[in-house]
């Protein structure tokens, strides 16, 4: 579960692409929303080195929305993620 003010889990890099598109084909749309959000959010996550799993998603299927991640960044969550120990 994502925690407020994120004491992040291990990853300091953005999450790796899941193992292969073959796996993705069998995923549900809900799972994909939750884990991959959207191109925009993934881009922002990449740019800020954020692990999406750490953010509370308010979108459909628990998706991390643009506002979610921007709020997260604004509230220092990204810095917290970076600063968190291994």
């Amino acid at each position: 579960q994502p925690q407020p003010n994120g004491s992040a889990t291990a990853a300091q890099q953005p999450p790796a692409v899941e193992s292969g598109p073959v796996t993705r084909a069998s995923q549900t749309v809900e799972e994909l929303r939750r884990t991959r959000s959207s191109p925009l959010v993934r881009k922002i996550a990449r740019e800020h080195g954020i692990d999406l799993a750490q953010i509370e998603g308010t979108g459909m299927s628990g998706r991390v929305t643009k506002n979610d991640i921007l709020s997260f960044i604004e509230s220092g969550g990204a810095a917290a993620q970076k600063a968190a120990p291994e």
Binding site: S37, V41, M60
Partner: protein
């Protein structure tokens, strides 16, 4: 100038261009003595004479062809289809002659082909069509569809002055809609072809639309504002060539795109807009690109059927809510 309806704005535009440029003339069925089925050309023949306001036989292919020939000779014809549904009878002449002349030997065809389009008036499948999709894949044509009197006048003038063939679609529901009555400038002005306008600024979601559906979008936006959603409405005005920059700028701002048109969804020009966005604004998207069109059926006649067929404010509100909640 003055406070005008949509139809009056178009009529003024044609009138002023005919006064300004003696090469401009009108040609179509019942456009002269009768002033046009929707009275768009009312009074022109008394002022400009029957040589410049020509009543033709029922011959859409000949009307288009004659406009092309006159244009090659340097005239500026404004050809009318009594209902845009009859443009299908001139489809060959438009797509094969008008559209391709300049490309094939450098001869531009500065003609305007205009007529009333659109549904919602219980006129049935042959007096309610939206035909832009027929021509979207025909380079050489331009297509324009205003949503308000100011743009209507500015665009008909721009179309008449354009050196290439322009299809000018006038949604018949807008012609005398009181809501659209608007004060327009006295002075000469044009609205540039190829430029969309931001009908309503917003930040949460972009509705990209044109014609009568601009009103649907604005009504939906007003309703959604009460729910705290801030909707941007882009009025395309020109359908071909699309104003890619304005579309992309809006989507990059809001990250959510809802494309709305009155033609059936499948095969409508919404696909072109969605494709543009999905390719060139992909990393700005926070949600799927949503398209709303009419059902994939002809336009039915009976009011409950037509209402089901056409996009309604509630359909747009519902879709925008879901898209915003994505």
């Amino acid at each position: 100038g003055g406070v005008v309806t949509f139809v009056e704005a178009i009529r003024q535009g044609i009138w002023e261009e005919m006064e300004r440029d003696e090469r401009v003339f009108v040609i179509g069925e019942d456009v002269g003595v009768y002033g046009g089925a929707f009275k768009v050309t009312d009074g022109l023949i008394d002022y400009f004479g029957p040589e410049r306001v020509i009543d033709t036989p029922i011959s859409e292919a000949a009307i288009v062809g004659a406009a092309c020939g006159a244009a090659l000779m340097g005239m500026r014809p404004v050809a009318e289809f009594q209902f845009i549904d009859f443009i299908s009878c001139g489809f060959d002449m438009l797509t094969n002659f008008a559209a391709k002349c300049r490309y094939r030997w450098g001869a531009g065809i500065p003609a305007v082909f205009r007529g009333p389009c659109g549904a919602g008036v219980h006129a049935g499948p042959f007096h309610s069509q939206n035909v832009e999709s027929f021509f979207m894949n025909t380079p050489g044509l331009k297509m324009v569809e205003p949503s308000n009197p100011y743009d209507a006048k500015g665009l008909i003038k721009a179309a008449i002055r354009d050196p290439d063939p322009v299809l000018f679609f006038e949604h018949k529901k807008l012609y005398r809609l009181p809501r659209l009555r608007q004060e327009i400038p006295e002075d000469d002005y044009i609205v540039e072809i190829g430029r969309a306008r931001v009908a309503r600024e917003g930040h949460d979601l972009s509705i990209i639309t044109f014609g009568a559906q601009v009103l649907t979008a604005l009504d939906a936006a007003e309703e959604l504002e009460r729910e705290g959603l801030d909707i941007e409405v882009i009025d395309l005005r020109t359908l071909l060539p699309l104003d890619r920059e304005t579309i992309l700028a809006s989507v990059r701002k809001t990250s959510r795109a809802l494309i709305l048109h009155e033609a059936p969804r499948t095969g409508g020009i919404g696909g072109e807009i969605a494709g543009l966005i999905a390719e060139e604004a992909f990393e700005w998207l926070d949600a799927p690109v949503v398209r709303i069109g009419a059902t994939d059926t002809p336009v039915p006649y009976s009011p409950p059927l037509e209402e089901y067929h056409l996009p309604q404010v509630k359909d747009v509100v519902d879709a925008a809510r879901r898209l915003a909640a994505y």
